[in-house]
C-alpha cells in the first residue's frame, strides 16, 4: 500500500488510545460485546448508532465512569496497558481517566459554583496547579468561546448553548490528551446547536484528539476522520465519513442513516 501524499494514513499519527475487545454487561444484559477503537493524535472519531447501541457506555468506559468487564485499553504515551478481564486497581483506572475529559449531554455543570469556579475546580483542587496560572488559562479559554464576560455568572443564568460551551472549557482546562463528547448538542434548542458545534470544529482544527458521539451528520462529515457505526454493542461498520454516509456497506447502517435524514 502506498501512502496517500495528501492525507497521511491514520497509522502515521501517534496512537493516543487503542481499545480492543471492549466488553461491558449490566447484570445479564451485554451492552458492549466487543468494541475496537483507535484514537490517534489530532484525529476525530465520531460514533453513531441507534439508541441503546452502547455509544455512551464506550465513552464512559474510557473515562472510568464504568468498569468494563473485558477488553484491553492501551495508551502508549502514558505507558498504560490495561486488561479489563482481570482486576484493575484504582490508581490505574485514575491514570486512564486523567488522559481524557468528558463533555456530557446534560452539561452537568456545578450549579453552586460560578462559571470561573466550575472551570478552575479541577485544575486547582485536583491537579494542584498554581492559582494565577489556572485563572489566566481559564480566562483565555472562556474568551475563545466568547464567555469571558460571563465568568462570574452561575450556570443557571446562562443559556443552554452557553452552559455547554462552559462544559467544554471545563474539560479543556484539565489539559487532557483526549476529549470525549457525548451528544453535546442533543439537549439544546436548534438555534443554539451551531455555536457549540463551531467551537468543537475549531478544537478539531487545532489538532485536538476527539471522540464524539453525535447525530449531527453534517458535523461528522465535515470534521470526522473516521465514523464508527455502533449497533448492539459492536462496531458494525467503520470508515471515512463520505464513504459511510454515501455508500454504507451494511444494511443496518443504511437504514439508520435513512431514518436520521428522513425522520418521518
Amino acid at each position: 500500500m502506498s501512502p496517500d501524499p495528501i492525507t497521511p494514513p491514520p497509522s502515521e499519527a501517534e496512537t493516543v488510545l487503542d481499545v480492543t475487545g471492549l466488553a461491558k454487561s449490566f447484570g445479564s444484559t451485554a451492552v458492549l460485546t466487543s468494541v475496537d477503537l483507535t484514537l490517534r493524535a489530532g484525529r476525530v472519531v465520531c460514533l453513531i448508532g441507534p439508541s441503546g447501541s452502547g455509544k455512551t457506555t464506550v465513552l464512559r468506559s474510557l473515562n472510568g465512569l464504568e468498569r468494563p468487564d473485558g477488553g484491553v485499553v492501551r495508551a502508549p504515551g502514558a505507558g498504560l496497558d490495561i486488561d479489563f478481564s482481570g482486576p484493575v486497581d484504582d490508581a490505574t483506572r485514575n491514570r486512564l481517566r486523567d488522559l481524557s475529559a468528558m463533555v456530557f449531554q446534560q452539561h452537568n455543570l456545578f450549579p453552586h459554583l460560578t462559571v470561573m469556579q466550575n472551570v478552575i475546580e479541577g485544575p486547582m483542587r485536583v491537579q494542584r496547579r498554581p492559582r494565577e496560572e489556572v485563572i489566566a488559562e481559564a480566562r483565555s479559554l472562556l474568551e475563545r468561546v466568547g464567555l469571558d464576560a460571563r465568568r462570574d455568572a452561575y450556570p443557571s443564568e446562562l443559556s443552554g448553548g452557553q452552559q455547554q460551551r462552559v462544559g467544554i472549557v471545563r474539560a479543556l482546562a484539565l489539559r487532557p490528551r483526549l476529549l470525549l463528547f457525548d451528544e453535546p448538542t442533543s439537549a439544546l434548542d436548534p438555534e443554539l446547536v451551531g455555536d457549540v458545534l463551531s467551537v468543537m470544529k475549531d478544537l478539531a482544527d487545532e489538532g485536538w484528539t476527539m471522540a464524539v458521539v453525535t447525530h449531527e451528520l453534517a458535523f461528522a462529515r465535515d470534521v470526522a476522520d473516521e465514523v464508527l457505526f455502533l449497533d448492539d454493542g459492536v462496531v458494525l461498520e467503520r470508515g471515512a465519513p463520505e464513504r459511510i454516509f454515501t455508500a454504507p456497506r451494511e444494511e443496518r447502517t443504511r437504514r439508520f442513516l435513512e431514518r436520521l435524514m428522513r425522520p418521518f
Partner: protein, 218 residues
C-alpha cells in the same frame, strides 16, 4: 390581671431564654448537626456494619420519646455510677436527638443530588471524598436548609422539657415564679407567648435564608 407581676416576671423569663433556652438550643443544634452528618454518611456507607450502626442509632432516637431519653441519662445512669449534671445531660441528649432526625434529612438531601454531579466530579479527577466535600455536600446543604430550620424550631420548643431534669431555662424559671406567686395561668401563658415570639423571629429568619439560597440550585 396582675400587670405588675407580668412586668416583674418578664425580665427573669427573658433571662432564662437568653442564658438557658437559646444557648441550649444553639449548642445542641451545632453538635447535633455534626452527629447527623456522620450518621448520614455512615448510613450511606457500603460497609454493612457501619450503615447498620447508623440505622440502629437513628431508629432508637426516632422511636423513643425525648422525655424518656432525658430521664434515662439524668435519672437512670447514676444508678450504674454515671452521674452527669443537668446541663451536660441536656446537651448530650438534645444533640443525639437532633442528630437522629437531621441525619435522615441530610441523607435524603445527599441522595437528591443528581448522579451527573458525582460523575462530573469524577471526570475532573476528584476522588470520592473530595467530590462529596466540594460538590455534593454544598448542594445537599442548600436542599437541607428548609427541613433543618424546622428541626431547629422544634428543638427550641423541646428545650422546655429539660426543665424536668432541672435545667434552669425559661420554662423552669416560669415554673419557679408561678409556684412562688401562685399565678400559674399567667406565668405559663407568659412563657408560651415568649416561645411563640422566639419562633416567629426564627421563622422570619428561615424565610430570608431560604430566599437567599434558592438561587443557583439545580
Amino acid at each position: 390581671m396582675d400587670v405588675e407581676l407580668i412586668l416583674s416576671s418578664l425580665w427573669p423569663l427573658i433571662q432564662g431564654a437568653v442564658t438557658g433556652t437559646i444557648p441550649l438550643a444553639l449548642v445542641s443544634f451545632v453538635l447535633g448537626l455534626a452527629v447527623a452528618l456522620l450518621a448520614a454518611l455512615a448510613r450511606l456507607s457500603p460497609r454493612w456494619w457501619l450503615s447498620g450502626i447508623a440505622r440502629f442509632y437513628i431508629s432508637v432516637i426516632r422511636g423513643t420519646p425525648l422525655i424518656v431519653q432525658l430521664y434515662v441519662v439524668f435519672f437512670g445512669l447514676p444508678s450504674v455510677g454515671v452521674t452527669i449534671p443537668s446541663w451536660p445531660s441536656a446537651i448530650i441528649v438534645l444533640s443525639l436527638n437532633v442528630g437522629g432526625y437531621a441525619a435522615e434529612i441530610i441523607r435524603a438531601a445527599i441522595l437528591s443530588i443528581p448522579r451527573g454531579q458525582w460523575e462530573a466530579a469524577y471526570t475532573i479527577g476528584m476522588p470520592r471524598w473530595l467530590a462529596l466535600r466540594r460538590i455534593i455536600l454544598p448542594q445537599a446543604a442548600r436542599v437541607s436548609v428548609p427541613p433543618l430550620s424546622n428541626t431547629f424550631i422544634s428543638l427550641v420548643k423541646d428545650t422546655a422539657l429539660t426543665s424536668l431534669i432541672l435545667v434552669t431555662e425559661m420554662f423552669r424559671k416560669a415554673q419557679q415564679i408561678a409556684a412562688f406567686s401562685n399565678e400559674f395561668l399567667l406565668l405559663y401563658i407568659e412563657a408560651a407567648v415568649l416561645y411563640w415570639v422566639i419562633c416567629l423571629v426564627l421563622s422570619a429568619g428561615q424565610g430570608t435564608l431560604e430566599r437567599r439560597l434558592e438561587r443557583h440550585v439545580a
